[in-house]
């Protein structure tokens, strides 16, 4: 088995055995969505209008908060040392870990979206639109969050500081994700315009996030 495949499978295995797969991320997503009506009020019409936004915020928070420990665990038990001493470039190792994180956290969020759309009074088409934008956008969230996760190791800090640093970087993804969802639900913008920009943001963040995270890890190892 190739080294990267081995790393990917190991991370997926760990996520499934320790965290119950995407369980805890989806649970957090669910709780954020459930909390909203308590703040906004149970008016179904209003909830339907802000539904896509709330789903996007929930997915954003669930993604970023689960990324916090992505590299820290490997750093603490000495695995990161060995990964740095391998033939495989660190950037590819980071990409493999990001892919494993998306598969076990981002993808379950996308799958949970139609169910949660029910709570936000979104009909089937609207939920599908939100799910599609999340499918395109959650990889971006994972890759941007990678930077925070790597900085957490480099700075030996975690928690809210990193969230504060990384959340502003996710604003463009959030804007276009919600815009695409609303375009599909109410128009008048065609869905394609914000959606293609969202895809472009994802592709950009894939490159920037992975390289920046690898750089941060190397710097932080001193």
């Amino acid at each position: 088995m190739s080294p990267l495949a081995a790393l990917f499978i190991r991370d997926v295995r760990l996520a499934v055995r320790v965290g119950g797969g995407g369980g805890i991320g989806v649970l957090f997503f669910l709780i954020v969505v459930v909390l909203t009506p308590f703040a906004i009020g149970p008016d179904l019409a209003l909830l339907g209008r802000v539904g896509p936004a709330i789903l996007w915020l929930g997915a954003l928070l669930a993604s970023l908060l689960t990324l916090d420990r992505l590299f820290a665990v490997d750093y603490e038990d000495g695995s990161l040392d060995l990964i740095l001493m391998a033939d495989t470039p660190l950037e590819l190792a980071v990409a493999a870990k990001a892919a494993a994180h998306w598969l076990t956290t981002g993808l379950p969020l996308v799958i949970a979206t139609p169910l949660l759309g029910l709570f936000m009074n979104l009909d089937a088409g609207a939920s599908a639109a939100v799910a599609l934008t999340l499918l395109a956008g959650t990889p971006a969230l994972t890759c941007i969050g990678l930077i925070g996760a790597a900085l957490a190791v480099a700075l030996r800090r975690g928690g809210l500081l990193l969230a504060v640093l990384v959340l502003p970087l996710t604003v463009p993804v959030l804007i276009f994700g919600v815009a695409a969802s609303n375009a599909a639900i109410v128009g008048p913008l065609p869905f394609g315009t914000p959606f293609t920009i969202l895809c472009a943001l994802t592709l950009t963040s894939l490159v920037v996030g992975i390289f920046a995270a690898a750089m941060a890890l190397r710097q932080g190892m001193e």
Binding site: M1, P3, R10, R13, L14, V18, D77, G78, S79, D81
Partner: protein, 207 residues
């Protein structure tokens, strides 16, 4: 294809290390040919671990140079070295075999993990989650990693700690076997670890 082992030579001259703004050591030098071992001794805080991590590429070389001649020119020193630090790089929720199997695959090892596990005496525990291992058994598992993946340079940070007498003898045997196969060992240690005839580098003394 395993690299053809010509006569290797690991040379360091004028090595300096700065950790946390403080200069830990400077002007360090040594030379090792294949089949030779270096024991790094000194009080705690003298920089033994830092020296090993520097050779492993995990700490920046603040001054001087470190060069490896006669080995694979395509690879850096860390890519041809094993580092055995204070931590064991084990995931508690994976089994012993899965842990070793992962590292063997990730670091492109040649031997299957079963042989290495048998050599260190952990074959019976292969399917046990690593969480249930004692400190000595975790150390043995790390040693198994050195066996299943062939790299010429071994950087060992207090390898005998947490090992019982039987395991220490096994470690000495493994190290002797590595040296007679043309490998190089640099080991930080507080006491003797069974390598007679090794060179010694004492840190923390003013030259």
């Amino acid at each position: 294809m395993p690299p053809v082992r010509l006569a290797m030579r690991l040379e360091a001259s004028g090595l300096a290390c700065i950790r946390g703004g403080r200069e830990v050591f400077s002007g360090l030098g040594f030379a090792l040919a294949d089949g030779e071992a270096l024991l790094v001794t000194g009080r705690n805080g003298a920089g033994k671990s830092s020296l090993l991590r520097m050779m492993a590429g995990l700490v920046r070389i603040a001054g001087g140079r470190l060069a490896l001649a006669g080995a694979d020119p395509e690879k850096t020193i860390p890519e041809q070295a094993h580092y055995l630090g204070h931590q064991d790089a084990l995931k508690p929720s994976l089994t012993v075999a899965e842990n070793l199997g992962f590292w063997t695959q990730y670091l492109a090892g040649a031997e299957g993990p079963e042989t290495a596990l048998a050599t260190v005496g952990l074959a019976a525990l292969a399917d046990l989650p690593a969480a249930y291992l004692s400190a000595g058994q975790r150390r043995r598992l790390s040693l198994a990693r050195l066996l299943s993946i062939k790299r010429p340079i071994w950087l060992l940070d207090e390898p005998a700690s947490a090992l019982d007498r039987e395991a220490q003898d096994m470690l000495a045997g493994l190290m002797r076997r590595h040296l007679s196969g043309g490998g190089i060992i640099v080991a930080a240690t507080h006491g003797p670890i069974g390598l007679d005839g090794a060179k010694e580098l004492r840190l923390g003394e003013v030259t």
